[in-house]
Amino acid sequence: MFEAILLTVITASTPLVVAALGELVTERSGVLNLGVEGMMIMGAVCAFAAAQLSGSPYVGILAGIFGGGLFSLLFGFLTLTLVANQVATGLALTILGLGLSGQIGEVFVGQPGIKLQPIVFPILSDIPFFGRVLFSQDLIFYLSVALVVGINWFLFRSRTGLKLRAIGDSHSSAHALGINVIRTRYLAVMFGGACAGLAGAQLSLVYTPQWVENMSAGRGWIALALVVFASWRPWRILAGGYLFGAVGIGQLHAQIVAQNLGIVIPSQFLSALPYAATIVVLIIISHNRRTTLINTPASLGKPFVPDR
């Protein structure tokens, strides 16, 4: 029973972790992309479509990554090349993504999907208690863990990561030092898009292997909150992602438990829990202005036009 719950929590948390990690890199470079929800749903529909047409969920994963990355390029062009308002453009990306994915996915509604099968590590998965939970998962879960480690190394141990953080804290200084601000930001935005696309692929290939319109159901926005929660640190995204995932799964189990005990809790109240929890967490994290100011990349959301 406990193992089963843990497995569902992991499945529910993985897309949040992956999408938030991508957005973290984008925001560390000083760009605020509010289009995570749109990129995620585009990733989900591309992944589902590719998996259906090719018959392989792995082609689906690639398509999801590619779809999300390509879609984020639109955001990059507007905000980086044309210096459009980042908040408004992010919203535009979400609105367009939800519409476009509905249009693309129309033919796939109701089709049974192809579920991504777990990759089982022999021996390791036989370890009692956590063996099956950790070593008998699908590729995207392993990728999510690798991403946490990799991004942490990249941001805090590599030269390019240092440059990326420098751009996020002061694009003018970084530009004066000869770092190519726009190019780095383009790459960071595309990385964020690719991660959101991968998260979307997880939704339509693992979490619920089918295509349903608006199936991201606000997860992209929760991922955005997760970045604030994690104060822009990769390890905390992992912790926060599992916390949010657990709240989401916890409410499902609470419904069953309450039913068995004969207590009537309207299902809508429990469904609202993850959203309410997000608000509460944001309050706790943000209420101290000083620490928020220290943690936030200093030029986050500010437009940059290179002077030539």
Partner: protein, 362 residues
């Protein structure tokens, strides 16, 4: 080839006017391409989408019905965005306004008095404003990002409405459908003309747009909105408070969204049900930007976006194109509006590979 931006010395008045039109044109071109990809005649489809709904009286009424909530919400959002407060939860404030406004007709269906309608409208405004007060409070008191909190509240409001109409407020004689009792005649917003469905919400919308236009243009409050939006520091020197502005703009936009909510339920639907809006609260964001955050511009852009809803319905019937095409149009439009707005502040130069500069005046 490279694109380079050069800051204009002055904001271009010419492009302030041309930019939204250019965006519309680009959307039409890309829309035609989309129809062509879907295997439909591009021009014929555009005609059905954007011209046919304008040819008949009843569909002009429908246009006003759809434009009313969009304009009401968008003029409030424009004040928010101008003052740098990012309320994107208008959909939730719309829902809560609809709920609080419906308290009287749902609980007192036998109360037949002319007084019920004005009271419903006021309660809708209060409900929407109070719901917007949550992100305002969290922003000013706890420094919480209003974008995320206002959006999370949209989901919560939707679930709350769902619970109400399936639970305590469900009509016991409604054959188990999740709807409330139909409102009594006195609680229904009257139509403006005898010729069609357009009701008073459209007049509310025009009045609200005019009033906010006047405020932004001739009153100190409007100046305060613009100054604080452009530079909080400059605003502080003038004695303006960003904190109070956050409250003002959020309550204003929430109240207007609430009014839109109760007018829609009272005038167009006649009862509460799980879904009362085809995303008006989100589409209004596009309306606000297409209208260049100017209340008068928003009247025009509200009508344009209302047309995409109508065209979407017409195209669904005539061309078997799904209604999702409307959302694609709306998303594309916002993208083009935002890109074209660059032309107002910058001159764009295309730098070709050979180092030759081709000055694109457009």
């Amino acid at each position: 080839m490279r694109i380079e931006l050069q800051k204009r010395a002055n904001v271009s008045t010419l492009f302030s006017i041309i930019s939204p039109l250019l965006a519309l044109l680009l959307t039409l071109v890309f829309g035609a391409i989309m129809f062509w990809l879907l295997g439909k005649s591009p021009l014929g489809s555009l005609y059905i989408y954007f011209v046919e709904p304008l040819l008949e009286v009843w569909s002009l009424h429908e246009l006003a019905v759809k434009a009313a909530p969009l304009i009401l919400i968008a003029v409030g959002l424009a004040v928010c965005y101008r003052s740098n407060n990012w309320n994107i939860g208008a959909e939730g404030q719309f829902t809560i306004g609809a709920i609080t406004g419906s308290i009287l007709p749902v609980l007192y269906p036998e109360w037949h008095s002319w007084a019920i309608l004005p009271m419903m409208m006021v309660m809708g405004v209060i409900g929407g404003a109070l719901y917007a007060a949550i992100p305002a409070l969290l922003k000013t008191r706890f420094n919480t990002n209003e974008i995320l909190t206002s959006l999370m509240l949209v989901y919560i409001a939707g679930l709350f409405l769902d619970w109400l109409v399936r639970g305590p407020w469900r009509d016991p004689k409604g054959y188990n459908f999740p709807v409330t009792k139909s409102f009594q005649v006195e609680a229904v917003l009257p139509e403006i003309l005898d010729s069609g469905r357009a009701h008073w919400a459209f007049i509310f919308a025009i009045v609200a747009a005019m009033a906010l236009w006047f405020m932004m243009r001739f009153m100190l409050k409007g100046f305060e909105v613009s100054v604080l939006g452009q530079s909080e520091r400059a605003g502080r020197f003038a004695g303006f408070s960003a904190r109070r502005m956050a409250w003002f703009s959020m309550l204003l936009s929430g109240g207007l969204a609430g009014l839109a909510g109760i007018s829609e339920v009272s005038g167009s639907i006649g009862h509460l049900q799980p879904s009362i809006s085809p995303g008006y609260g989100f589409t209004a964001i596009i309306v606000a930007f297409l209208g260049r955050l100017n209340p008068l511009g928003i009247i025009a852009s509200g009508l344009v976006l209302a047309l995409t809803y109508l065209g979407g319905e017409a195209a669904q019937a005539a061309l078997q194109i799904s209604d999702k095409a409307a959302r694609v149009f709306q998303g594309m439009l916002l993208f083009f509006v935002l890109s074209c707005d660059t032309l107002i502040h910058y001159r764009i130069r295309l730098i070709l590979a050979g180092g030759k500069t081709a000055e694109a005046r457009a």
